[in-house]
């Protein structure tokens, strides 16, 4: 099976509803092995639902899923054995200590659990081993969640808002050190985060989910290459509308117009911009967060 060899994750036509409300519809997602895939979307876009279906924690209502050659809907145990998962909201037995919850999880991952690496992570996260989890702060609970997901060195790591409760120092250390170390062994990571700029330097590919469908899905270089911000300065008031190939959004303020352009073609788009009659044209790259905001806003009807 091709998907099993090339892709850590492959979904086709994936859909899921809650009650009568479809939160995900026709999702085709491919995550190559060995990459860090940034899975972005607004609140309620369907990221967590997708991740839970990838883990076999939810059953899809339509479509197929392949995770490391397994169908999570049929063999969730095999998937969970090979995949580490950090949920947006961590759940534990709060009356257990860190040491105890590690022992409990290790019982069910007897073959894969790496005691030395688990100890390394406990030290790295500065977690008090003999303290009950119920006394932990939100950030410490997030660390325990990361610890349990990474301690058996899974082939695939699915991280749903993993750094939400972490302080900036630990967050940076996690992203720059722990995840980087983890990736040295050619493992795959699917990560969703609202702190987009923090993961921007880490991800190879990005998928932007919006209203249950995939808006964009490409390498980060291609995304930056294809989507640009053009700032046009006019002699008089800027026109409120303009026509140009690939235009996503146009915002006019006084004599300045800001245009978000998709499918940017270096050989044609600058000429087309020049033809709009502006006194000055500046073309810039977006950072990942602004790119995300532009694309999702345009998808909601922000284009003019």
């Amino acid at each position: 099976m091709t998907a099993a060899t090339e892709y850590a994750i492959a979904t086709h036509g994936l859909g899921r509803r809650f009650g009568r409300n479809w939160v995900l519809k026709g999702l085709d997602l491919e995550v190559p092995k060995g990459c860090v895939f940034g899975f972005l979307g607004l609140n309620g876009a369907g990221k967590s639902t997708t991740m839970r279906m990838l883990m076999g924690l939810l059953t899809p209502h339509e479509g197929t899923i392949d995770v490391l050659g397994h169908d999570p809907a049929r063999d969730a145990v095999a998937v969970k054995r090979r995949v580490g998962y950090v949920a947006e909201k961590p759940w534990f037995y709060e009356w257990m200590t860190v040491r105890e919850v590690m022992a409990f999880a290790a019982h069910y991952r007897a073959r894969e659990w790496d005691d030395a690496f688990a100890e390394y992570l406990v030290n790295a996260f500065k977690l008090p081993r003999d303290q009950k989890i119920k006394t932990f702060s939100k950030g410490q609970a997030a660390k325990v969640s990361l610890l349990l997901a990474m301690a058996f060195k899974p082939e695939l790591l699915i991280l749903d808002e993993p750094t939400g409760g972490l302080d900036p120092v630990v967050r940076r250390e996690f992203v720059e050190k722990l995840l980087a170390e983890y990736m040295e062994e050619e493992r795959t990571v699917l990560i969703s985060s609202h702190l987009i700029n923090e993961i921007a330097g880490l991800v190879d590919r990005v998928g932007i989910l919006h209203n249950g469908t995939l808006l964009k899905h490409d390498t980060i270089e291609n995304l930056f290459r294809q989507t640009k911000l053009a700032t046009l300065t006019f002699e008089d008031d800027a026109p409120s509308t303009c026509t140009i190939p690939g235009l996503l959004r146009c915002r006019a303020e006084g004599r300045t117009a800001r245009l978000t352009i998709d499918n940017f073609d270096p050989s044609e788009t600058p000429a087309a911009l020049g033809a709009l009659g502006a006194r000055n044209v500046v073309i810039e790259d977006f950072n990942l967060e602004n790119l995300f905001i532009e694309l999702t806003t345009a998808a909601d009807g922000g284009a003019s």
Partner: protein, 537 residues
């Protein structure tokens, strides 16, 4: 702090060894060891409750010479305890995982359905077996009987619980019913316990029908329902039911996912509580914070109405054969129901006013509290009225039925409200709904019995004057209602207890509830008139 990240307070070597032992247990036994450790408190609480009742009866006998603790009474308590431990363990083991969301943690582990379910059943069996030996010995020693003889006699003796091998099978059926109802029906432990109770009553009825089908001789058919002969026929019913429940459990575990709605959620077309958060509760709260009580009220009213009516009919048959008096059992059931009703009325988050969203609203906490208490009182009264009506309805079949119970309407009404308030109060101290409910039941049951004793004296043939009757009725009811009400207000308004951590809270609760346990009955039975007589006689 060192690089190892150890806590600043290093545990002593004894604590260290204990922690290591627990870690070893979890590493090598997984959920089996976890369940044994976590749920050992349930048989312990039930054992303590029964032992308290047995010892209390002994003290009452010695002081008042009003009754006696016989081997048969103690045996009944013991058998009842065995059944209660099984059922409550079933409800708790499934219910706490569902309600606390820790089922989600289990769902993320690479473990199959049976890999999780079977050790849980084994842990329950172990706890039940330990209770069998330890509680049996303790109750035997408390009534001065050699434990092995007491246990052997208690098990061999036929009674309402049909003991012997049939009793064991019935216990298994009870456990599985509790477990399955909580896994399948609802994530709310209280509601699940009620639904499980109904399921068990339905089972009991189907079991009786099963017997009736197999015994053709008309007089023998009904008489044998309560006799030893029935054991032979009960085997098939118990095993069939247990297998049905086990299959239901295995299927639920196999198909469970994070979004799987319960029967309750599917029935009302609600989004799963795990998906939609507490959307339903949120809607009610927007209207009126005190309305979170309503689902509990409705659930309990329905459960009690059906349960009491069915039980009353069945007990009627037993009463006709002069084998059992129903009053204390129904009082215990009503006490448990109202204690849990009260405990469930306080949201777990409200125990921490600094973090729960209600604390941030521009409304005085007193406004919320009084509204909650009013609704709780109304719910408790509704509960007792429904139960009384059901008893009266069942009793219409025979003049003997529920006579004692129906005669004491004022006690039932006020007692139910009182125990519900005690449950509400206990929840400030206990994070677990189950423990709060059980602990409040202990306190409430002793109070109810004290008042009951006083009320009985009114029916003993002595000619009381009107003021004496008022003193014997109004004073105990005022105490039963007033003391928990005052306790709640001191606890909630003072903001002292809610700001404590769990351990100090437990200590405070144990201290205050022990005082209430000792002095509550004394206060109920000792009126100001008695005090005046004692002082100025």
């Amino acid at each position: 702090m060192t690089a190892t990240g150890r806590n600043a307070t290093t545990p002593s070597s004894a604590v260290r060894q204990c922690l290591d032992a627990r870690t070893w247990l979890f590493r090598h036994t997984g959920i089996f060891g976890k369940d044994v450790l976590q749920y050992a408190r349930i048989p312990a609480v039930i054992g303590a409750l029964l032992l308290l009742i047995v010892l209390g009866s002994g003290v009452a006998d010695a002081v008042l010479n009003t009754g006696s603790v016989t081997t048969s009474d103690a045996g009944d308590f013991f058998r009842f305890g065995l059944l209660a431990v099984a059922f409550v363990l079933g409800v708790a083991m499934a219910g706490e995982e569902e309600e606390d969301g820790t089922r989600i943690f289990l769902g993320r582990l690479p473990a199959g359905a049976l890999q999780l379910l079977l050790p849980r059943l084994a842990a329950a069996a172990l706890l039940w077996a330990v209770w069998f030996v330890v509680a049996g010995s303790a109750i035997a020693l408390s009534v001065g009987i050699f434990p092995p003889k007491f246990i052997a006699d208690a098990i061999a003796e036929p009674g309402v619980y049909l003991f012997g091998e049939s009793g064991l099978l019935f216990t298994i059926a009870l456990f599985l019913t509790g477990f399955a109802a909580t896994s399948w029906i609802t994530r709310n432990v209280v509601l699940a316990a009620a639904v499980g109770g109904i399921a068990q009553i339905l089972y009991w009825l189907s079991f009786l029908l099963f017997i009736a089908l197999f015994i053709k001789d008309e007089p023998l058919r009904w008489n044998s329902l309560i006799r030893v002969d029935v054991r032979a026929y009960s085997f098939h019913a118990h095993v069939s039911w247990s297998m049905l429940m086990a299959a239901a459990l295995a299927w639920r575990y196999h198909t469970w996912t994070e979004g799987a709605p319960t029967f309750w959620e599917s029935f009302f077309d609600k989004p799963s509580s795990l998906q939609g958060g507490s959307a339903g509760e949120g809607r009610s709260l927007r209207l009126d914070p005190s309305r979170v009580l309503i689902p509990h009220t409705i659930g309990w009213a329905i459960a009690l109405a059906i349960g009491s009516f069915t039980l009353a009919r069945e007990m009627n048959k037993i009463a006709q054969n002069d084998l059992e008096v129903f009053g204390p059992q129904l009082a215990l059931m009503l006490t448990l129901a109202s204690a849990f009703l009260g405990a469930a009325a306080l949201h777990r988050g409200e125990r921490e006013p600094g973090t729960f969203f209600l604390g941030g609203l521009p409304v005085p906490p007193r406004a919320f509290l009084n509204a909650r208490l009013r609704r709780l009182a109304a719910a408790a009264v509704a509960l007792s009225v429904v139960t009384l009506l059901a008893c009266a309805l069942g009793g219409a079949m025979s003049p003997k039925m529920s006579d004692v119970f129906v005669r004491q309407i004022s006690l039932v009404l006020i007692g139910t409200v009182s125990v519900a308030f005690l449950g509400f109060w206990a929840r400030y101290f206990q994070r677990s709904l189950l423990i709060a409910g059980l602990m409040a039941s202990v306190l409430g049951f002793v109070w109810m019995m004290a008042a009951w004793l006083l009320f009985f004296s009114l029916n003993s043939g002595i000619a009381y004057t009107l003021p004496e009757r008022v003193e014997h009725v109004v004073w105990p009811l005022a105490v039963m209602l007033g003391v928990p009400f005052a306790l709640i207000h001191v606890t909630a308004r003072g903001s002292l207890v809610p700001e404590l951590n769990e351990r100090p809270r437990n200590v405070v609760y144990l201290f205050v509830s022990t005082l209430a346990l000792i002095w509550g009955p004394a206060l109920i039975t000792f009126s100001p008139l008695d005090a005046l007589v004692l002082l100025f006689n």
